[in-house]
Every structure is written in structure tokens, then in C-alpha cells.
Symmetry: C2
Subunit: 163 residues, 2 copies
DNA sequence: CAATGTTATATATCAAGTTATAGACTTATG
DNA sequence: CATAAGTCTATAACTTGATATATAACATTG
């Protein structure tokens, strides 16, 4: 069966990148599920942002993640519910709400940085290894490789190779 | 403000590709809005699939687009509502419902192929022109270029260059 | 050939993004 | 200094993807 998005090339590049991104996220989720993590893969970037940049107001968090503010408001509400982040009003400006990692969130991030993220990063790096040339060709190669060996298998192998 | 997804590299490649895809779709939508098209940019791949492959049952349509079947069922219902596709039960197998372009759908696709898609394709090709090297670098270049000159501006220019 | 299993589609629910807008607070100005 | 304008966050409504499951039609088999 012809892959129409691939055939259409640049015309549907947006749909195609979205599709690849979704598959990567879903595969990553599988890896996390096996490790008994209780949050969605899509929440990690927010936690990583707080880890890298320290406490941030909602708007700057959205900007640093490159998403719209309401999405961050919702994610923050969810993570606060789980006890992974804390939200405090800013002292200088009562409109701003400063988001920071809670103790549990700190622990989760530290564990992820040590035990989980390296494996995922290696798996994705493996997936993209030795790619070069035009973008569309690289995307096709990624799709083919993912179909041949899903990410969670690569994560296992990668973990063996990089202890 | 640091772009966290970019800093995290392979670890968040899925989120990042999704983000780029969404921006491309949104920008494409802007181009279409200006041209008074009444459907969403995300529906075009389905119409293009029917155009390329002819009438197809729902499942094969999903497969050719690389998305899950319920998404196609929903899109088809929407496009049928708009009168752009028709759905008929298969004769051999009463479970299958064959989707095809209606007369209006045919006309829309023909018009799009003639007047609209080339401009979009050129704009995206322009966006990706002269890219080479590692994937992450190309993605960063695309993000930078999109930020500098949004797609709808490129579409205008591309149309002038390629009559 | 009835019962069981399989397949195709529809439906329900969820997730995570979007835009538009409202409400609270801050800043600027006449 | 009161009011107007602006900024920050939350909420509502929508989009578009996903998975899980129900239903209906077909296929197989004891």
C-alpha cells in the first residue's frame, strides 16, 4: 500500500513530521511503561525545562517549550495534582505563578536523568545514526527503521551497549 | 529564553517533530484561509489519497495515510457532510465501506492541484532548500527559518517565482 | 450448518495541542 | 490618582491524533 504522505513529499511535510513525532512519543511511552513510570512521556519536557532552567512562571515555561500557554497551564495542573511540581505566586507580580519541581518531582527527574533518559536518548540516536542528505530522505529512513525495529527494542540494545 | 526541546536533542525528538509539524500545518492553514478554502489543511492528505489511489475502503485509506482507523472514520464523516466524498458499501463484503471523491470533491482536488498545492509545495521546498547534514541541525535550521519568514510569506514569493 | 473466531467499521473516551476570550493584576497617563 | 491600556494566567471550545471496545458481517470448522 502506497504511503501517500511520503509520495506527496514537501506538500504534506507537516502531517508527516507530526506522524513521526507521534510514533516516537508512543514508542517512548512503551519504554516508560515497562519501567513503571507513572507519568506520560509528553510531560517530561516540562520537567526537564524546570530542571534545566529552575523555577519559572507559566508564560516563560511555555516559551521555553515552544508551546502555547494554555497547554502549559493544563500540564502544570496535572503535574501539581500528582505532586511533582509546586506553584507559588510571584512576590513582585501577583499575576505570575511560579512553577517549580517539588521534592518528589526533583527525585523523579534525578532518577530519570540517571536511569531512563540516557537509554531513550541512545535509542533515538541509534535510530538517527549515520543519516545524511536531504530531509525527506532522512525522514523516510527513520520511518523505515522504526518499522523494522521499534524504539523500545533499540532502547534495550542501547542500554547494553552503553552501561 | 533557551529552547529546551532543542537543547535536549535526541531525547525529545518526538515532541520536537510534532511541534514543527504542527507549526507547518498551522502556517499552511493560513495560506488556505487567504484563498477562501472551506476545509482544514489536515483534510487534504485524505483527499489526495483518494485522488492518487482511487476509491478505497476506510481501513486501506487509514493504512495509506499512516494513521489509525478511527481518525479516518471521523474525517470521512466530516468530508461526507461537506459533500466532498461519498461512501458506498462494498458489493463483495458488506462490512467494507468504500470512500470515493464526489463530484464536488473531484473539482476541489483538481483546483487545489492546479492553483494551491504547487504554491505550498514550493514554499515548503524553499523552507528546506539547501539543507544537509545531521537531522538535528536541519530541524534547527527549519525552526530558525520559519521564525524568520513564515510559510505564508514564502508561499507568496514562491508563487511569483514559479508561475 | 451452528458455533466460534476473525475482520471492518463505528463509537466512546482520552490526550495534548490550538485559538479566543475573560478576569485579575500591573503599568502608564491625562 | 483615577482611569485606560497592557500583561499574565485560566477557562472554554475546538482539532486531531490515540486506544479500547462494541457491532455487524464474513470465514472456518467440528
Amino acid at each position: 500500500m502506497e504511503d501517500v504522505l511520503r509520495s506527496l513529499g514537501f506538500l504534506c511535510l507537516g502531517s508527516r513530521m507530526k506522524r513521526i513525532g507521534e510514533q516516537l512519543q508512543a514508542d517512548t511511552q512503551r519504554v516508560l511503561d515497562r519501567l513503571d513510570m507513572r507519568i506520560q512521556s509528553s510531560q517530561y519536557p516540562l520537567l526537564a525545562a524546570l530542571d534545566r532552567l529552575g523555577p519559572l512562571p507559566v508564560g516563560e515555561l511555555a516559551q521555553s517549550l515552544g508551546v502555547a500557554q494554555p497547554g502549559v497551564t493544563r500540564s502544570v495542573a496535572l503535574l501539581a495534582e500528582l505532586g511533582l511540581v509546586e506553584v507559588n505566586p510571584s512576590e513582585e507580580d501577583q499575576r505570575r505563578r511560579i512553577v517549580s519541581l517539588s521534592r518528589d518531582g526533583r527525585r523523579l527527574v534525578d532518577q530519570a536523568k540517571r536511569d531512563i533518559w540516557p537509554g531513550i536518548e541512545n535509542a533515538v540516536a541509534d535510530l538517527c545514526a549515520d543519516l545524511s542528505g536531504p530531509l525527506l530522505g532522512q525522514l523516510a529512513a527513520i520511518e523505515d527503521r522504526l518499522a523494522a525495529t521499534p524504539l523500545h527494542r533499540r532502547a534495550e540494545n542501547a542500554r547494553v551497549v552503553a552501561p
